[in-house]
Assembly symmetry: C2
Homo-oligomer: 433 residues x 2
Amino acid sequence: MALVVVGGVAAGLSAAARARRLDARLPIVVLEKGPVVSYGACGLPYLIEGRVREAADLIVHTPEYFRQERNIEVRTGARVAAVSHPRREVELESGERIRYDRLILATGARCDTSAIAGADQPHVFALHTLEDAERLRAFLRDRRPRRAVVIGAGYIGVEVADALSRNGLRVTILERGADVLLRDDGPFSDAVRRTLETHGVELRCGVDVESIEPDRVAGAPCDLVVVAAGFKPNVDLATSAGVAIGRTGAIAADDHMETNVHGIFTAGDCAETMHLVSGRPAWIPLGTTANKTGRVAGANAAGGRERFAGVVGTSIVGIFGTAFATTGLSVAQARAEGISPVSARIDSLSRPRYYDGVNTTVELVADGATGRLIGGSVIGEDGAAGRINVIAAALHARMKVEDFAAVDLAYSPPFSTVWDPVLIAAQQLSKQL
Amino acid sequence: MALVVVGGVAAGLSAAARARRLDARLPIVVLEKGPVVSYGACGLPYLIEGRVREAADLIVHTPEYFRQERNIEVRTGARVAAVSHPRREVELESGERIRYDRLILATGARCDTSAIAGADQPHVFALHTLEDAERLRAFLRDRRPRRAVVIGAGYIGVEVADALSRNGLRVTILERGADVLLRDDGPFSDAVRRTLETHGVELRCGVDVESIEPDRVAGAPCDLVVVAAGFKPNVDLATSAGVAIGRTGAIAADDHMETNVHGIFTAGDCAETMHLVSGRPAWIPLGTTANKTGRVAGANAAGGRERFAGVVGTSIVGIFGTAFATTGLSVAQARAEGISPVSARIDSLSRPRYYDGVNTTVELVADGATGRLIGGSVIGEDGAAGRINVIAAALHARMKVEDFAAVDLAYSPPFSTVWDPVLIAAQQLSKQL
């Protein structure tokens, strides 16, 4: 028995570590195409900002650590060119072949810039790997750009815009769609826009960038461009091995993170997961899910029998100190899933006014037919993460709004109001059900 | 039809306001024995601390507000001496009688100092009403005491100790029991002790105070004493009206907050509530529960049919900037309920180290027989409220540890680690089940 893992960041190394825990003797090889493994990719914007001082601060473990402490062989610069499942072999670009009994595809995702002309210019960057971040930092330091365009208003796009703005650049974000942060949710997008604009970052939606000129993009002058759009799962290897791709375009997997090809598992940003609210496969590439699916894939590839419960799509992003958090379905997303949504949106204080409470916006969405809570969002500078997580737990438990409104949440003036904003929102929503 | 509410703080006024919403014409009278109504009692320690500048900042609404805006008659200084249910009358100390059809007893709780000799000295204070707080503030200002003894290490006791310490006093807390914050939980109490001691507050447990001497209590020298012990529900009026008292010593009520006497409802600190984890009535007097039970009692007294879901005993207290939060049952409490508990305690970072993460301690407790999550505690300076609330939601949903470990919580470096501390604790606990 031998396990080969393709991909050495969150999912791949979670898988390898978990497999090792279950089987102390299994030969495990992790193949990473890049020069480093095991880094906190979600920390890259903070490396650009300067809050994280050195790239090394984002590296959790080195290949040596895995070799010595975990008996896992981690190879960097090892790009897999092909998978031959009949022969149970991966072939590296170097021509080297490595046999496996079980294979885990943790090939991640990428920004596909192929549709954008001029994306290969030296002032154009992605922010997907530690190398990307180091290159961008060097550019900021050496070239001192003054105006930046960020293409894409997803998580990375707005985080990079924040980071560049804090470095003194004037930033314009160009987004193809009408909404931001991957949420089909007008009021939420409006709130993001207001926060960005308050801090001098311009957001232009409905702008489909086809080319990057040397000194401007879609009319916006700039001497730096970050492409944070066109995010796609890396599925070529999977396809070449006969692994089925799901309706979302990512690798389809069952709840053991096994693909349609027996013995090939998948995890992380390249994989579909089950959305527990819609009941349908979704592609929501996030670090949390990468770690969780990695664990499950690793356990099962090592002969275990673990199950990935699925996602509810919880996410949070900090923009100039305000948290924008979502979980489950927005009103528009619910409609797209054939649900008749009912929603309530409230503004309330995060804490008593006498204890420096600040405004918190909570929206909750219910299935009008069943009264079940199906989604929500929280916006605020104080306690938003905890509040979205309470909603996320309720989604996992398939709670009705009525029951959610009764949850016994903690209260003390330094932490919340006696009626927490999420409960006020639940009460409002209850009245409409 | 007429509604009389005895008690004009959180529960009583929640009840009156809710009754008014359901019935625009119902005559409603609220009788409050003190001089002010509708104040945030949980804010009193912050008035002592000085963070809240004036008592008026804690007052939410005045009697005039209720009269003019809600058509509710709120009478202060109106102490009820007796209830005659056969005649449907309350009798005030003044001799005045007021008729009711429905009665809500929101009589609250008190510190019973009758067992302590010398509690009537001028340097001895309680901190239960706004008047108490104002008297204590005046004493601090005028007498400049240097050493304080706080009797009782419940929420109010530790909050007052914190507040006095921040005013420059040396503080000793004397607690009769072995544990603090009403939690039978050794490691949790130890953590509270360490935080208190780090900030110069001495905690002595197992000290049963029988008398307060002019310059010392139980050997601890002091020129100020705050009694925050002997907390008891005010049930005399209820008893006189033939209302049954529950096993906890508080007023027994059904899930409509109606007592055994048809037409008499109860709410707030004087009332028992159903503990959803133990399945037994509990007396956990907290502001959140007072507001919730008040709403339900008010609705039902006005002819509605609402239900109080019960509590899981969630609470939080801030001590010198560190949150100590609990919900459900501790290991010892579970044993006392006949459950065989299994628990896991972990220390983890609240956020990545590169984003200023600080230590967070999470303990989770499960029922070893069923694998169900039955309680937990969270200690930390960052995000503890949100984390305890996620556990509380899981208790309401009767989640198993295994399912709780899979909850899709939000992650981004400014807010948490990729594996949130509560998930790490759940994983640890899962291994033992």
